[in-house]
């Protein structure tokens, strides 16, 4: 019974709290403090190890995040792809490889921030907390990949329906209740990170530059009508 309540709390209440926090705070922050939306780059202060930390981390995390999104959005296509064992292995191995790339980069990011006193002065408590969460998330993700194989298959078949049930406002925890502890941990931490997201530097992900692709090269602002 208490397990039931715990599941309800972790996989129904918590996700909604986190998702709403995410929505409300990102919008409010953008509207009231758009100045604070910045990637807060530290390349200027340290340019030697920067490449080896920030670049692998981003390539890793972007592919991994995209993978999660795809499995969430088009689970059936993934299942169809996986129907052939060789293709399943290719998918799993590349997912693991990008997970490891994320880990290497993230460790690099943390070590670089910690060891360089100049960068440490521009690192806040929120940053450290965020790095800790991302590190735990990456490690738990990699261990899920290692110890609970064929995640691409069971994510598509079991977790996607759960996530969809959340978004359709009819939460159904039966899919997750039977998951191993490590997977549950990964899910809970994911929602916590989403809830924490708008309070951190992660908001830079939401303002990735798109106008660049279609605007004219020169930008002119007029104060009178033309």
């Amino acid at each position: 019974m208490s397990q039931h309540f715990l599941d309800q709390f972790l996989f129904v209440a918590l996700p909604y709290v986190c998702l709403f926090t995410f929505l409300l705070v990102t919008v409010a922050r953008y509207r009231m403090q758009s100045y604070s939306y910045s990637s807060l780059s530290s390349q200027f202060l340290e340019n030697e190890h920067h490449f080896w930390a920030v670049v692998p981390f981003h390539y890793g995390i972007l592919v991994v995040t995209a993978g999660h999104l795809i499995a969430f959005l088009i689970p059936r296509t993934i299942l169809a792809w996986n129907s052939h064992p060789l293709r399943l292995y290719v998918l799993e191995v590349s997912a693991l490889a990008f997970g490891l790339l994320t880990l290497v980069g993230l460790v690099g990011v943390i070590v670089r921030r910690f060891s360089n006193t100049k960068i440490r002065t521009v690192t806040t408590f929120t940053d450290w907390l965020l790095f800790a969460m991302l590190l735990l998330q990456t490690i738990s993700g990699i261990s899920v990949a290692l110890f609970h194989p064929w995640g691409s298959a069971w994510f598509a078949s079991n977790l996607s329906p759960y996530l969809w049930s959340i978004f359709k406002l009819g939460p159904d925890v039966t899919y997750v209740a039977a998951m191993p502890h490590m997977v549950k941990f990964h899910i809970v931490l994911a929602f916590l990170t989403i809830g924490f997201f708008p309070f951190t530097r992660l908001v830079h992900v939401l303002v990735i530059p798109n106008p660049f692709l279609w605007r004219k090269p020169q930008v002119v602002r007029w104060y009178r009508k033309r």
Partner: protein, 497 residues
């Protein structure tokens, strides 16, 4: 014809005494803040020298400016629509703090708090970033007045194309020479900083052409820092935003000259409006190197021409601004007299700050221990001046000497004309011959002389009416905001949330 107005500038290098008053005025007003501590929106360099940031003109290192591939395509060297993906995480050509310098202060407290000992306590230099003691190795103007230095002067990127002999001359003790190059943002017509910003945070103000960074839209992608070939966009390491010279627009809007202009001791700075044809920006920026100076001039319109005036009015330029353009000292230096030249026009950003190239001491010849300064060639001191013409041409003529020689010859002719008038050691005939050879008339010489030597505040700065009060009223109703804290930032800018 799309007529626009641009607040433009002339720096008369022959008058700069290298006092750095301009830099300090700017620092005190704008960049005396955490994160901006290392920035010098206005800096004064010794040339030949490596400048600030170190070797900023070496585009093989910084990759700034535009590239024209000759068949009609212009691209930013450091970033493009495809290259944005790899470059955004780590900008390969971005200068880091080491290329500028690490700002420092002194541990003054130690003078008061040091425990009693046998030595006098000292105030050691400490970093303004992490507060640690630093061993200061370089700083802005570290090479001040070090013309001839093998470490600085010898590494000036403008020495390219000089013969070995010329380079040696520049560093031989009897002949070493240097001049000053004060620099601010050029508020370019084809600004690379603006074009490179992935977020579109940088923009050029339509009415006056001032180039600004919208602090609320800047997301620290740092493209502008790499793209500006003059290295005049700076990254604020604390707030995580790019910043640059704002041409003191709050001062301009209230009719005052920018602080560096106002405080200039040598009175080398001039400011005024130029009207130009914005339709031609792209075509001109694509011209081959040797046509750039002329092409740039050809975009600038004659504010006395009735057709230009009619078009300007059609494009919404107010009578006050047109009048300011007609009285602009910049127009006279750049267009009428053609003695002010754009710096490094080969970067193709079409800078709107022009320099009158400096005269330099004569290279004397020595015969039997007698030093000779004269020669049959009236312009010998220009052709054999101690700063080789090629060096100045690399700075102000995209490597071509013609325009630089023209500007120097005219300056020299004006001097001789004045000597013939006042000192009398030169006969009128010789002076007139020089004027003729320098493509100058007596009247023009008098005017150049007046605007160079006798200029008042009003002569140097012809600030157009900016009508910002009307512009603001169009967007905001001031009465609605009465008794509020004002519009704009709510709370001071800070790092992150």
């Amino acid at each position: 014809m799309d007529v626009r107005s641009q607040v433009s500038m002339v720096f008369h290098l022959d008058k700069c005494i290298g006092c750095h008053t301009c830099s300090v005025a700017c620092k005190n007003i704008w960049t005396d803040r955490k994160g901006a501590d290392y920035m010098w929106w206005n800096n004064v360099e010794t040339k030949p020298g490596t400048g600030y940031p170190t070797k900023w003109e070496d585009q093989s290192k910084y990759n700034g400016g535009w590239h024209s591939n000759g068949n009609g395509r212009l691209r930013i060297k450091s970033i493009g629509k495809a290259r944005i993906v790899p470059n955004i995480f780590h900008n390969p050509h971005m200068p880091s703090m080491d290329d500028y310098y690490e700002p420092w202060t002194y541990d003054y407290q130690n003078l008061f708090n040091a425990p009693e000992g046998s030595d006098q306590p000292t105030a050691e230099p400490i970093s303004m970033i992490d507060g640690k003691k630093i061993d200061v190795q370089s700083g802005p103007n570290w090479d001040d007045d070090l013309g001839g230095s093998p470490l600085y002067a010898a590494n000036d990127p403008n020495l390219e194309g000089l013969t070995e002999q010329q380079k040696l001359q520049l560093s031989s003790v009897e002949r070493l020479v240097f001049f000053y190059l004060p620099r601010i943002c050029n508020h370019c017509l084809n600004p690379c900083c603006v074009a490179s910003c992935p977020s579109g945070a940088l923009y050029k103000r339509g009415e006056d052409g001032i180039v600004l960074v919208d602090q609320k839209k800047c997301r620290a992608w740092r493209s502008c820092v790499s793209a500006c070939p003059y290295k005049k966009v700076y990254f604020n390491w604390f707030t995580g935003k790019s910043e640059k010279c704002i041409l003191c627009y709050p001062r301009l809007e209230t009719g005052q000259a920018p602080a560096c202009f106002h405080s200039c001791v040598g009175r080398i700075r001039y400011l005024g409006v130029l009207l130009y044809d914005a339709d031609r920006i792209e075509d001109v920026a694509k011209l081959p190197d040797d046509e750039l100076v002329e092409g740039h001039r050809s975009m600038i319109l004659d504010p006395h021409d009735p057709e230009v005036i009619a078009n300007a009015k059609k494009c919404g330029i107010s009578d006050g601004v047109i009048e300011a353009a007609q009285n602009s000292p910049v127009y006279r230096f750049v267009m009428e007299w053609k003695i002010a030249l754009p710096p490094h026009i080969e970067y193709r950003t079409l800078p709107m700050l022009f320099y009158v190239p400096p005269m330099s001491p004569v290279q004397a010849s020595k015969e039997d221990d007698v030093i000779h300064h004269s020669s049959d060639n009236l312009f010998h001191d220009i052709d054999s001046s101690r700063v080789p013409m090629q060096f100045l041409a690399n700075l102000f003529g995209a490597g071509h000497e013609g325009v630089v020689r023209y500007a120097l010859a005219k300056q020299k002719a004006v001097r001789w004309h004045r000597r013939a008038e006042t000192v009398g050691d030169i006969d009128r005939e010789t002076a007139d011959r020089m004027l003729r050879e320098a493509d100058c008339t007596r009247e023009e010489a008098e005017e150049i002389y007046k605007l160079t030597a006798l200029c008042t505040y009003e002569d140097r700065f012809v600030i157009p009416p900016m009508h910002r009060e009307q512009a603001i009223e169009m967007m905001k109703e001031p009465h609605e905001h009465r008794e509020e804290t004002g519009f704009g930032f709510v709370g001071g800018p800070q790092r992150g949330m």
